[in-house]
Symmetry: C2
């Protein structure tokens, strides 16, 4: 009988990003690992899926002989869908996504390809976790993040997540000795204020680069932003029922059927 | 003093789709209309944003002289960000997205470009509504949907939405005389079960088309799926705080800091 957990790994920075390598190494200590990840960076892809062109799936030896790995031409959500339907020998016991190069805290969860891979699995009923390190650099040090990954993934495999939720784990860019701990949080209320960078091309046509300023409007000490700013790794349970239940009573008093 | 509401219109099927034309016509009865919409179809784009290449914005006369309109090379979320930063003369009183060709009920809200445009506005504090008709065809009849659009948008302009929520409005494909009414609902618990269509290209390389079967796991009569199947238009209030608040207590009993 095979009792080793089967673990699916994906990400949004692409199969050759250092972050997914660090994640695979830690997952190999916990179970049998299968990777299906994008063949190119997919940051900011949100929960995009590919319906207007076909997908390619190419075997990869990037992680050595012990890891069955494929690179996929699609988005992170596509990778998970293809893995479940075409690659995995059975339902995985855990799906992990990342380790993302850069934060997916607070409102960034909405735009995150890393989290969309995890959410795609959670919608299908899998235990799923997205991991992100607060360092955009390709030379980022993933050693602290790797410790957090092991602790959180071990606990999820042991206890099982509450129904209909996945975890959004963000790790501050500090040495392990300076990490204050791992904190359960809620998503901070924050937004990006756009500041498009407008330029002219050599043919005098305008174009725009998306840039912006992150604005945290939330002073709560139970938020992911507070935890990260104070040296903790943040763990936010995330749901895919987007219903604003608090609004239903109010809307029922409206006269929509006059 | 200008008291006419300023209304921003976007979509994900692209600026030339019949659905956005129907929406613009109705909005012109309620206020001053500005359109910023994708220059090509963006269905399934989720909450994607464009960070790896620049964006183009080109003026369009598609809606006649009374409507300031631009087509944008980006995603629906990009369109709203650009509109707010570069196009609109002031903060709009309402943002509407659609009318989508096809359903965005239940779990489809996660994958929906239509809803991502509305959500982008809501995150920024705007009153925002996404509209979808349950008919994928480009020859769809938008007359029933247009009535629902007017009723819902009028009520939102009059009453204002509850804090931190937007509306996901879906309209069944029935004549107005058969529409039972407009019903406030919660998002049905449902998912897509993937069934990739695997083919070989002329060079004997495999490729995959994403297809799937929609599975509704929710028997509740307060869901959007129930409403639509029973002849009602569904209105689901949607939030962008994805925290699974019910899970926080459970997770706080875990031993993550052993």
């Amino acid at each position: 009988m095979n009792t080793k957990p089967l673990i699916l790994v994906s990400n949004d920075d692409g199969i050759t990003a250092p972050g997914i390598k660090a994640l695979v190494e830690r997952m190999q200590l916990l179970g049998e690992v299968v990777v299906v990840a994008p063949d190119s960076p997919q940051s900011g892809m949100g929960h995009a899926i590919t319906i207007n062109h076909p997908l390619r799936l190419v075997k990869s030896d990037y992680f050595g002989d012990d890891v069955l790995a494929y690179q996929c031409s699609g988005t992170p959500a596509d990778c998970v869908k293809l893995a479940l339907d075409k690659v995995l020998p059975r339902r995985p016991d855990l799906l992990v996504s990342g380790i993302n190069h850069g934060s997916n805290s607070s409102i960034n969860v909405i735009y995150s390809g890393t989290m969309s891979a995890a959410m795609e699995g959670a919608i299908d009923g899998l235990q799923a976790i997205g991991f992100s390190l607060l360092d955009y650099s390709m030379e980022a040090d993933f050693s602290t993040a790797a410790e957090v990954v092991t602790r959180v993934a071990t606990e999820v495999l042991d206890k099982g997540l509450p129904t209909d939720c996945l975890l959004n784990v963000n790790i501050p860019n500090v040495p392990l000795s300076e990490l204050k701990g791992i904190k359960i949080c809620r998503q901070a209320k924050a937004k990006w204020v756009e500041e498009f960078d407008q330029r002219d091309d050599p043919y005098n046509r305008k174009y725009f680069w998306l840039t912006g300023k992150f604005v945290n409007m939330d002073k709560g000490e139970d938020t992911d932003e507070w935890a990260l700013q104070n040296g903790y790794a943040s763990v936010v349970p995330v749901q895919f029922d987007l219903t604003a239940h608090h609004a239903i009573g109010i809307l029922n008093n409206w006269k929509l059927n006059a």
